[in-house]
């Protein structure tokens, strides 16, 4: 095993009952200092994977390791340097941030002085300094979320596992978390985060893992994906008349077209499978040749979302 491999899953499978396979044979490795995004739609298996990595549930088969240690078998050793934020955790409303952080500080075997110092630092970082001794039941959702983030970084872990970290935060809060994660990159902290906000993920992550229906469908660096999508691969086309299903089929049959999705009754988005400008012109000619009246033809710079949509489309077609 590579010494730099911090988080590793091996053929991870999680089934709920006979019918539901939430995680289906997922294997990946994350190296020290990497910031990896874990992307997928609702029900893809992201949170399930993260729960296995943090010993909240056990896998049906396969294993999850942190620093080479099986998480479910040796949770004390595996998780001692891990900070995590999973889903929307409840908070102990009758306690104060000071009490909660003190408790978790003791769990992570921090000294009294360090706990005291870190409480001040972390609460300032998450903008809760004024609320140190207030009961959490008076907090808003955003404040609770910030406190949960504060708890995850309280013991200065070298590994962070975050499930939808910006959920419930306003744009200012999202920006602050983004900056926080970027600061971790500089400190060589390994971050594994799942999110729906593909734009956010593309701004902070080094690489992304795409999950669909429990299966890992792609893993690539954000830089390479950007390069792939840099060329104009997405074209939005508006037609004079409403499109029928047979019209869509005609467009789909055009070579170099990967995916056609309907935006509305008379507008579609085309994703090409390569970025050659000549093919962009060729597609326009073929669409007109099919007898479809085009009123607007707009090649666009695609992004991570488009890349993901195209991956999901391919996966759906393969099924």
């Amino acid at each position: 095993m590579d010494d730099d491999c911090i988080i590793r899953t091996e053929n991870l499978v999680k089934k709920f009952g006979e019918d539901v396979t939430a995680v289906d044979n997922v294997s990946f490795e994350i190296e020290r200092g990497e910031v990896v995004g874990y992307l997928g739609p609702n029900g893809a298996g992201k949170t399930t994977t993260i729960k296995i990595l943090t010993n909240l549930i056990e896998p049906t088969s396969g294993r999850a390791c942190i620093n080479g240690i099986d998480v479910n078998r040796y949770p004390k050793e595996a998780l001692k340097d891990v900070g995590s934020l999973i889903g929307v955790p409840g908070v102990y409303g009758y306690l104060t941030p000071d009490e909660i952080l003190t408790y978790f500080g003791k769990v992570y075997r921090m000294s009294k002085e360090k706990i005291e110092r870190r409480i001040e630092d972390v609460l300032e970082l998450v903008n809760l300094s004024d609320w140190r001794y207030s009961k959490i039941e008076s907090f808003s959702t955003g404040m609770e979320r910030r406190l949960a983030i504060g708890k995850s970084i309280f013991h200065e872990p070298s590994i962070l596992i975050l499930d939808e970290p910006v959920l419930g935060l306003d744009p200012e809060g999202i920006r602050e978390i983004r900056e926080l994660i970027k600061s971790f990159q500089k400190k060589d902290v390994t971050v594994f985060l799942s999110s729906h906000l593909l734009d956010e993920v593309s701004k902070v992550c080094d690489s992304v893992i795409f999950l669909y229906d429990g299966e890992m469908i792609e893993r690539d660096s954000v830089e390479r994906i950007d390069q792939i999508m840099k060329q104009y691969r997405v074209i939005e086309v508006e037609f004079l008349d409403n499109l029928t299903e047979s019209d869509l089929q005609k467009v789909r049959k055009i070579p170099v077209i990967d995916e056609v999705t309907k935006i509305n009754q008379n507008k579609i988005r085309i994703i090409k499978n390569e970025g050659n400008p000549a093919s962009t012109a060729e597609i326009l000619k073929k669409v007109i040749d099919e007898g479809l009246d085009v009123i607007s033809y707009s090649p666009k710079k695609s992004d991570l979302e488009d890349f993901y949509v195209s991956l999901v489309g391919k996966k759906g077609d393969a099924r």
């Binding site: 729960k51 010993n55 909240l56 004390k76 999973i86 955790p89 769990v107």
Partner: protein
């Protein structure tokens, strides 16, 4: 990897942390205040009312017998308060997402929660007995504290452990705090006592295996007092719990339900 000794010490430390966290929780939710108030207030009623309106019983044993016949109520109320939501609360409120992802064995967390429910309930019962003993000394002198009083006290503590285990068990298997608290409360208050009565009066068999039947030992040891329902010298046709058998049943309930609860809680996952 650590040695087994280091591992055990670490687990013990984690358990202690959980216990102190639970105690803080009980304190903050005013459960301690309510229980302590009951533990002092209930026996005071048996002191104040006779002093003002009536007279005290002839013997200290009669006084203790009457006073301590309500300790069962206190055990049920306190046990429900402290143990009713011990496990289920973490799952229902999703605070387990914070707690269970820490570097601790889940077993140590659940054991800590059990102790965190047991200790305050035992403390409350001790306060009740302390208050009663002060009253006895005040009315009858120190000679009023008999060996039977201490027997009753220790039996009450054993019974408290079994009651807490039962309520903790409900907390480990049910999905909602309110259901587990109420089920624990009503099981000890009504359901089991009714089953016990039905077995005694209708079927005419001794319900030695029913937990609430053994509760009779708490005041049943006061052999010098008029029995309040059953007990030595009670009506023929009723049963009285055998001393050693009763204590054994309480211990069995405590240990079995404790292990079952921890096992089931451990199998539960934040799914």
């Amino acid at each position: 990897m650590k040695s087994i000794k280091e591992d055990i010490l670490e687990d013990m430390k984690n358990t202690c942390l959980t216990v102190s966290f639970e105690l803080k929780k009980h304190f903050r939710m005013k459960r301690m205040v309510i229980s302590f108030a009951l533990a002092i207030g209930l026996p005071l009623i048996f002191y104040i009312v006779p002093r003002i309106w009536a007279s005290f019983p002839e013997t200290a044993e009669e006084f203790a017998n009457l006073n301590l016949s309500f300790v069962n109520l206190l055990i049920i109320i306190s046990g429900s308060l402290f143990a009713g939501d011990a496990v289920v609360g973490e799952f229902e409120e999703k605070t387990g997402l914070l707690l269970f992802s820490t570097p601790q064995r889940h077993t140590t967390i659940f054991i800590g929660k059990y102790i965190g429910a047991l200790l305050p309930t035992l403390t409350v019962v001790t306060i009740y007995y302390l208050t009663t003993s002060l009253e006895i000394i005040g009315i009858y002198g120190t000679e009023g504290i008999s060996l039977e009083f201490f027997k009753s006290f220790f039996i009450a503590l054993v019974y408290t452990s079994s009651a807490v285990s039962l309520i903790f068990f409900f907390s480990s298997i049910l999905k909602r705090k309110i259901t587990s608290t109420l089920l624990g409360f009503f099981s000890l208050m009504m359901i089991l006592p009714i089953v016990s009565s039905v077995l005694q009066f209708l079927v005419e068999v001794e319900p030695w295996y029913i937990l609430t039947y053994t509760e009779g030992l708490i005041t049943g040891v006061f052999v010098g007092a008029t029995p309040i329902g059953g007990g030595p010298g009670g009506q023929p046709g009723q049963f009285s719990p055998d001393f050693y058998q009763g204590i054994t049943i309480m211990v069995v309930y405590t240990v079995v339900l404790f292990f079952l609860s921890v096992f089931i809680s451990n199998r539960r996952r934040m799914e």
